[in-house]
Amino acid sequence: MRLYWKYVWILFKSQMQYRASFWLLTLGQCLTPLAVFAGLYFLFERFGQIRGWSFPEVAVCFAVIHTAFAITECFARGFDLFSTMVGQGEFDRVLVRPRGTILQVLGSKFEFARAGRLLQSLLVLFFALSSLTIEWTPLKTVTLILMISCGVFIFTGIFILAATFCFWTIQGLEVVHILTDGGKEMAQYPLNIYQKWVARFFTFVIPFGCINYLPLMYILDKTEGNGILYMLAPTAGIIFLLPCLLVWNIGVRHYRSTGS
């Protein structure tokens, strides 16, 4: 773990060398979800509600998923750009070092400019939570933290899975964006507005529903019956990460260098 922070610190120093470009990028990153959020706001201004969900409620959904995504993009960027690492044969260097591969790939990139997105998502989260009247209990606070942290686990899992494919294909796969960007886009609305099969797929196969829709019902007191199950739903994210790590290890064993 100490090693990881050292990696991060070095990357931070190197990125701060280009200060103007850094701030421009941060600002730009901030704008992207802002435009999407503005779109969301205008839709609610026109329609009022979506299947019984009000604007602040959906905004919480939106903010949780975007916060998780922004955090993941910050620190798991190494996996996102893994195809170039394999393509240029740099992964060989990682393999000969006496440390775990996952730690090293994680530490190879850290995108600080994404902090702009994170900040924007957090602002939306605070705005949304403050405009809702929620009776806060310690359990609900824990649930909220679980939602975001487990969201990070899911996105990391997908990034790792996508990176693993690179061992075989060498190139990055565009289809994976369905799961990352598409999943993010989809999960910014509560899952019950979609068709049954979509909702099922994104609850049981890739558990996006478990990190915002189900626990959010608990926070908003919309649940029927036992609340604990809803509250613990985010832990599905941790369960999701395990097979991803397993697949990664299989992939590493199949790795054949591209040379150069």
């Binding site: 990153q29 503005a38 299947r51």
Partner: protein, 267 residues
């Protein structure tokens, strides 16, 4: 003119090589399309008042947007061109016996067309045969269809002219990612790619209709579904042409100014 035509053709063939990327693109477009339709379906199912655009019209809008995405998005980026500027290799292009504006314009146009040629027909055909709520409806009459084709092509010329302005701005900023991000995000919202313009509040619509972005995507898609009637569409096509002329003149002027100040460091 023959020279620009051959640049255009070369680029077109080059772009057509990337078939697997196109296939992946198609799958992704379908996924996005379905998600967008389901969201709007949910919004429409409990709408309190009649929305200004019917659901079938909206669905056509979404499928056309997915099919012709490459033709109309602003953030399609040819990093080769911006690299030319930042690395100084633009010196080679300046030596060529051709106007650099037209040369680049032909390149960008071909890039868009080759991308769209591979992607649009599968999406259009499949979405045309989908079961009822998701189906792409056919245009109300053949006249509307021809108007759609004309306005889409003009929109393509328009969006390429706008993206030329972005490349020109790289001369000043030297940081392509910053310029692109700013333009792309704003352009996407202003051209109705995030939320169709008729669904936005009235005051915002007034602003958007006065800008050229609306004519790149929102306008042709609504002409197709007949949401914009033929008489209005003819006027709109006229305005498209005016915008196109203005953007050409401004772009060429800015380009010549930028080129006058350019300093290429050796290397």
């Amino acid at each position: 003119m023959r020279m620009y035509w051959s640049v255009f053709k070369l680029r077109l063939y080059n772009g057509l090589q990337y078939r697997s990327a196109a296939l992946a693109g198609i799958v992704t477009q379908f996924f996005w399309g379905f998600i967008a339709i389901m969201v709007f379906e949910a919004f429409y199912s409990q709408a309190l008042s009649q929305p200004p655009m019917s659901l079938p019209e909206l669905i056509s809008y979404i499928w056309l947007k997915q099919a012709f995405l490459i033709l109309v998005i602003l953030w399609l980026r040819d990093s080769e061109l911006s690299d030319l500027i930042t690395s100084g290799n633009i010196a080679y292009d300046l030596c060529r016996p051709s106007g650099i504006y037209n040369f680049w314009y032909a390149k960008l146009l071909a890039q868009r067309l080759s991308g769209a040629a591979l992607r649009c027909s599968p999406i259009l055909i499949i979405s045309f045969f989908l079961p009822h709520p998701y189906r792409l409806m056919s245009p109300p009459d053949s006249f509307a269809f021809w108007l759609f084709i004309i306005s889409l092509l003009l929109g393509l010329l328009l969006v390429t002219a706008i993206s030329m302005l972005i490349y020109i701005s790289v001369f000043a900023t030297l940081s392509p990612s910053g310029s692109f991000l700013m333009f792309a995000v704003l352009g996407e919202f202003l051209s109705g790619m995030i939320v169709p313009i008729p669904l936005l509040p009235q005051w915002l619509q007034q602003i958007l209709y006065a800008l050229p972005f609306h004519f790149t995507a929102d306008f042709p898609f609504r002409v197709y579904s007949g949401h914009i009637p033929a008489s209005e569409a003819l006027v709109g096509i006229g305005i498209q042409m005016i915008w196109l002329a203005v953007l050409f003149v401004v772009g060429k002027w800015l380009m010549s100014r930028a080129l006058r100040n350019i300093v290429v460091q050796g290397g």
